[in-house]
Symmetry: C4
Subunit: 275 residues, 4 copies
């Protein structure tokens, strides 16, 4: 029984170190992890650069193994130290942690095969490790909430943009034709998105007067309707900020907060707030 | 008389299926229609892509006929099942539905003529089928209302942008001249719109120092005045959000309105709002 | 004496037609003027296009004279019909009207000289006729007011952008050097403005890793600080809209309006507003 | 003792001239300084332009020495006239002033060495003189405050943009490959930033259908999420404006705050606010 308690204590301690950041050990663990993630991302990016001294590629190879082994231990430790392992394994961070660990093993496993491209793609999956950092930011911030609240409106907006791009893309395909680079409707729609979002690569550009006239209209529309998502998020965000301003008083009876600043009575139970 | 009632019932049932989405049959009809529209759009776009296997073009040809025939039946059914057919035929959706149906028939009709381009353009009119989807989104959403309310201001703004582009385009035509690609005033105005909306293709770009100086001013103006449509929609939208979230209830005792949506008691006199 | 009265009446009538839009004749005059302005602008733009049939250029030449003579009569009529001609001549619209009339005469006058370019530029001054339209929009709208109220803040913002562009442009000049197109500091500053305002022509683009890294930072800054002018105008505009909402009540005592919606007493004289 | 007082007076006078702008002499000093700064910046920029007449470069050389010597005297005067020189020397403006002065001396000092590039870079440090102007604008304005208050949120947003660009850049590297210009992950991430911020140079552009599809998604995301920083600053700024315009007075009778700035009587109880 003592052993079981010991075991439990050991597990609890691990849990404290890994999942919490209050203890000194937990802080050390968090900072180490953060540094390793950033280093790992830098290494993945460097690996893809051609023409560096060969020593660097060798160093990157070994560094990668060290980091992967650390992440492996972290993943196992997270599973062991939690009471309900499945709640972690199938959570967002559980999947991210797994994806951060296995690419190297898988690429090692498939290395014998001829599918070199697959191996490379697999190794590059490591870039998703960057999402491990989001753990330290917290989803609960107001920004994310504002975006979530305006999700439906943003989707309607994006759909409207898509409809506009499909129609204008088709019209431009007819007007400009294939000689100007508008080779097919999908390409024209792509061009339309490039133009409406004001990116404007210039790899495809209208050359006929009518095409340029239509393009000008698309641009001005793009320039104007950018106001819409901004208006949505602004309003939603202002609204959220305001809610916070309602937070000054708290009812003595029902403990409801979020009252209007000038409220004299609780809007939930009718208690006199000024008592 | 029974027959007439039967007839009426049959018509009513059709109306229920087509115009409403509450019954299971209505839902099935809506989902089928939605899938067919999306498929149709994808097919129209695919048709324009060169270099696919010939089988695909053949499949697209037959698929197009199947979809068109379905849309034909839908159009006829919609006319039959409504009490006042003209109210549908000349409505926005009535015209869209007709435009979604006839292009193939018309292109078939004109196929013998030499006007191949017209035929192709006619066939591509099918892309407007995408507007059939808007039926499922509803115009009544706040976004559209905010834009409608700020229509007048947006038009004034767009006019101001146009005036600015015409004047600056003419100035750039004088400054840069035809060697730099500013071949005529309309082209210069087009360039000015491309620049002011921050699209910036780069197919035409100023090369003289004075031209680049003026271009820089146009860019900064474009960068700055984008704030204007955003400000309009933001303010209009914030206004709308506020109306909706506060103005619903009115106290029986003190007549104070502007209560929170979830208020049960008046925040001014404590009166029970739910009485 | 009767003649004098007649004279006055005639002058008044002209004033009514030209300066007001309430009478049928005034409306006809305004619409004619509007059409002539738009036509004139279209003609100026067409004139610069090369390669049209020669008949069109001839037509444009005569049309230009007709329009100019009409504008000349309008200018004279405006001076005659007003009581204090100087108040019109030196006003914004007086100068615009003069600029809309004289270019053709001046170009005719200078035609003998060798300064062909000056003549062309003079003729193109006619494009400023477009500003005559602004008479029909009115400067008093809320939009213009919001921009005017935030003028000081916008200037500070533009100055900050300029400082940023000068510093980053110089840094890029050192980093990228002349081989990449960053030929001088003014050119680099121009590139920096092109990038920061997200126009991005692509005629000059960084090629060294460090240059691309710095460019990425400039882009993200440009993407982020666009929020600033938007925030300014939004806030100013929301503020203005709010003022309007305060306009519901009017004091019986001092006739002050602009009260808060929930005001029970006049904020100026203390009069009970609810009486 | 009289001498000491004289000394002090002389120092105080210098302090008044340099650090304050109320006296006529102070104003003259400020305007002179402002003109010299602007001239200096123009000279530094002109110096880098190739192909001007040789006389100009000579003039720029001497003008530079004159300006530098003036700035040297200004720097020394600022140190002498202040009571605690270190509080100035290590302040933001102290460092800027030093940076504005020494580049020429340093470049003169290093001129003998072979490191010509370093000398040029050093000389260009003079561009930071532009920051001397910020002294005349003042950091205390609302704009800067709004940005400072939303710093944390903006950093989270920029981090999110970076994460998105790293992931999408890697995906594009796999999809497009090196033939399309996506030579390495850092280059792909650079392209992704260029696209997401809607700059769009066009030096690198996707050519495969899948690449163009993903690029379209990135563009629309960039177009949409620009709303986020705008929303943040708008809300923060609106909040600031509101505070300033309403919260100034509080009624002595009913303690109601939130009066209009120009209110003379309480809008709730009619109490005279000016008592």
């Amino acid at each position: 029984m003592t052993k079981d308690t010991d075991h439990k204590t050991w597990k609890n301690k691990l849990h404290e170190i890994i999942y919490e950041a209050d203890t000194p050990m937990g802080k050390v663990f968090d900072v180490t992890l953060l540094i390793l993630i950033v280093l790992s991302i830098v290494f993945v990016m460097l690996e893809s650069v051609k023409g560096l001294p060969i020593d660097i590629y060798e160093f990157l190879y070994y560094a990668e193994w060290v980091i992967t082994i650390f992440f492996t231990f972290e993943y196992i430790a997270r599973i062991i130290s939690i009471k309900k392992p499945t709640s972690y394994i199938f959570s967002f961070y559980g999947i991210i942690d797994l994806l951060s660990t296995i690419p190297l093993y898988l690429s090692f496993f498939f290395a014998g095969s001829s599918a070199l491209l697959t191996v490379r793609a697999l190794r590059l999956l490591r870039i998703f490790r960057i999402l491990k950092i989001s753990r330290y930011i917290g989803e609960s911030n107001k920004l994310v909430k504002a975006i979530k609240d305006s999700r439906a409106k943003i989707l309607v907006f994006l759909f409207a943009v898509l409809v506009l791009c499909i129609i204008m893309g088709t019209v431009m395909y007819i007007v400009e034709g294939e000689e100007s680079g508008f080779k097919s409707i999908p390409i024209s729609v792509y061009w339309c998105i490039v133009t409406l979002t004001t990116v404007g690569y210039g790899d495809i550009a209208p050359v006929t007067p009518l095409g340029q006239f239509l393009a000008a209209i698309i641009m001005i529309m793009g320039y104007g309707i950018i106001a819409v998502p901004t208006g949505i998020v602004s309003a939603e965000y202002t609204h959220q900020t305001k809610k916070v301003h309602l937070n000054t008083q708290s009812c003595n009876n029902c403990n409801e907060s979020n009252h209007r600043d000038d409220a004299k009575f609780c809007h939930k139970c009718g208690e006199d707030l000024l008592k």
